[in-house]
């Protein structure tokens, strides 16, 4: 098994020997689930039980780090990291983004302020690396009757970074792969 490299030096993937992808977004959006959909093995997460505010389908949260891996056709490892959603782990973000080929921002349609979340995460990522390719995936649209894509598009336009925004279900492997296709298409 490939262990998550924790030393910043070993995270350099510019040599293209490994492909590194980072998933970011607020708590409970579906980062751990998306890692599971992208990678072959169950993610190595530091999940903790959520005692307060636990909902029917969400009883753990990721503390610190999520990690999963897959192998590309030619044997190149694909490393997928989940950025901790909690602000107290913000210090880890630049370290995690180092050497990544792209970022998937996962937002939750049930959150009242999806567009504010969108602006926040785009700002967070671009402040660290303005050239990093980004795609936005919005989960839980099946649970929100009032969700509108328009405010998210407005937030994207405001950011000046015209990135793709797709609604998707992180539990669905095909939809998660399709989100990755949009990221790659936008990079080409």
């Amino acid at each position: 098994m490939i262990r998550p490299p924790m030393e910043p030096a070993t995270m350099q993937t510019q040599d293209a020997a490994v492909a590194k992808l980072v998933l970011a977004g607020p708590m409970g959006a579906g980062k751990t689930t998306a890692i599971r959909s992208i990678t072959d093995a169950a993610p190595v997460s530091t999940e903790m039980p959520l005692s307060e505010g636990a909902s029917d389908d969400k009883d753990t949260t990721t503390v610190a780090l999520d990690f999963g891996h897959a192998v590309l056709e030619d044997g190149t490892p694909l490393l997928v990291y989940g950025m901790p959603g909690q602000e107290r782990f913000a210090f880890m973000r630049p370290i995690l983004l180092e050497g990544a080929f792209g970022v998937v921002i996962i937002l939750n349609a049930v959150d009242e302020d999806v567009s504010a979340q969108c602006e926040h995460w785009l700002r967070e990522i671009t402040a660290i690396d303005a050239d990093l390719p980004v795609v936005i995936g919005i989960t839980h649209t099946d649970r929100s009757a009032s969700f509108s894509i328009e405010p998210v598009r407005a937030a994207i336009r405001n950011s000046g970074m015209p990135v793709p925004a797709f609604t998707f279900d992180a539990r669905d492997k095909q939809q998660t792969f399709h989100l990755m296709r949009a990221l790659l298409m936008d990079m080409q």
Binding site: A16, A19, A70, L72, E73, D74, T76, L78, F101, D131, P133, G137, I138, T141, D142, S144, A145, F147, S148, I149, E150, R153, I156, R157, G160, P162, V163, P164, A165, F166, T167, F168, D169, Q174, Q175, F177, H178, L179, M180, R181, A182, L184, M185, D186, M187, Q188
Partner: protein, 308 residues
Amino acid sequence: MNIELKYTALAHADERRVRLAANALAAHHLVVHASDWNGGHCDVLVTDSRDRQGALALERARLAQIPTLDVCARDNRNGETGASVVWLVRSLHRLLREQPIAAGAEQAAGGARRPGLVELVIRGDLAGQPVLARHGSISVGLLPRTGRVLSHTLGDALHARSHLGAPGWQFQALKDAAAQQAPGEILTSLDTFFMEGAWRARTQLPRFADGQYRLRDWPDLGSATELIEVLPIVRALLRERAGIADIARSSRRSEQEVSACLWALAASNILLGGKSGGEYLVQAPAPARRNHGMWSRLAIHFGLTRSG
């Protein structure tokens, strides 16, 4: 032959001359009814592109494949002082002769004979509005402001989607309050709905109006997981303002496929014509970021391209 001529954004004097010209066309056995345009379908639209509203109307009419006459067209020598009646009669006669579609007759036979998707786009009065769409016993709510489709069941949405290329649709604008009570509570992506429907019906759809098109926002195609071929077309539209043939060339898809995408994007109300708006176009990423070998391997892995 009965012709519906509409005009909009004309100076008062031009409007009067257009009415005179419409009457004069009787000499050519054309019965022309001239009135103000409400955004709906008509046989010919006369407007003035120097006026902002007029320019927008021209875009809209072109999308709806309505023949147009611009009173400041280059061949109108008198352009500066408005259109002369003689020029109007000659231009309208030529335009109507060139358009043997006889849209009036077609409408009399029922616009409902067009593919639903085409009918929806052509109905300029429905552009950007919440719409109740009915096909047989199925109804769905099309909500372009939120980018969602509302239906009773997922099956209804799928039925509606797979019949977008068929005739027999009825569309009715919904007031915002009514839109809240549009059918059902299953919400799915409007862009995916139109794109999947248009793609499936691509051989049945007419060619989209020639013009220069582009996108400002990515359509929400998150659940259109089968439509990988659409992604290069979307990217081409985001990168540059272009015509159907150019988009087909740069995305390496057929003009028929590009045309189907344009019908879907126009129905979603996110397709922009060449003239309006000066918003950003997507820039290609910094070259330093591109590691082509790695990109290709990732593209194969995620099923964007095939190996070999």
